[in-house]
Symmetry: C2
Subunit: 171 residues, 2 copies
């Protein structure tokens, strides 16, 4: 059976069990350029141990909250043609460490603001520190804002009479 590690290479099913990835996910990752297994004469994918390590890295990085594009970029930084060394992985890990710190700082800032808001109950678009669009740093996702650099605040300032007057719960 093709299930075992043979001669020079691992079949996709083995890699799938090994990594916990589904076979379809591994094929998808190949399409996305995250791994590049060889092929045998029958056209079947042949993986090396280095590929398994790349896939492990993908799983880990995903758990850290990174998208496939970012992960691919990180993997592309690995020297081509040679098996990545411990130092290569360590460099990647340090990069991720920095990103995690940034994420945590953003969350901490958000939490502190939320603490300020608890008991205030304002939820005012003018006054709420959480909503305040200035601190881009704390942004977690993209959200439904106008994408084309067309700030609603800017847009509002040109339209005349509508100028709203504060929106707290306290009114």
């Amino acid at each position: 059976m093709g299930l075992s590690k043979n001669a020079r290479g691992l079949p996709i099913g083995w890699v799938a069990e090994r990594t916990g990835l589904s076979v379809s996910a591994i094929r998808f990752y190949e399409e996305e350029g995250l791994v590049s297994p060889g092929r045998d004469r029958g056209g079947r994918r042949v993986f090396q141990r280095a590929d398994v390590r790349r896939l492990s890295f993908v799983l880990i990085a995903q758990r850290l909250g990174f998208g496939l594009a970012e992960i691919r970029a990180a993997l592309d930084a690995l020297p081509e043609g040679r098996t990545p060394t411990r130092d290569d992985w360590t460099r990647l890990a340090e990069g991720f460490r920095a990103r995690i710190d940034a994420r945590m700082a953003g969350l901490a800032a958000l939490r502190d603001k939320l603490d300020g808001c608890i008991g205030c109950g304002c939820l005012s678009l003018d006054r709420c520190a959480i909503y305040n669009p200035e601190d881009t740093a704390a942004r977690l996702g993209e959200g439904p804002r106008y994408v084309m650099g067309d700030s609603p605040r800017a847009a509002r300032d040109k339209g005349g009479q509508g100028q709203p007057e504060g929106e707290g719960l306290d009114e």
Copy 2:
């Protein structure tokens, strides 16, 4: 023009400028049950100030990393038929505070493990603390795992000869 707050209700365009949401997003949120504006005789949506506050809450909760389904659930907890009070919002905010704390704890755990891994370079599926599937608590997203409770470790244990022997970089 329909741009201003009139008699008893705000038009969608005003709400859009006010909240920074796009008109299409607001209509989408209505479909999703996040707001339920009334209609005038012409069939146009008529929003109240309470709707604007609901939408503000949606924006804030999204920044905190919650999905629309979770946000709808939170909003559904608001008493029907009456304008939400400061206490209502405060309860919601406290719930979010707890979720943020959980997220931060997860990230902190992950960061500590990553620190342990920097310099080790193993990226071993057997040994890497980051990859270790036991600590479900730190999970950030869903990932490409087998969904049907079909653990790869469990599956591996039944298949005979393939039993892999450790996958570190150090081999």
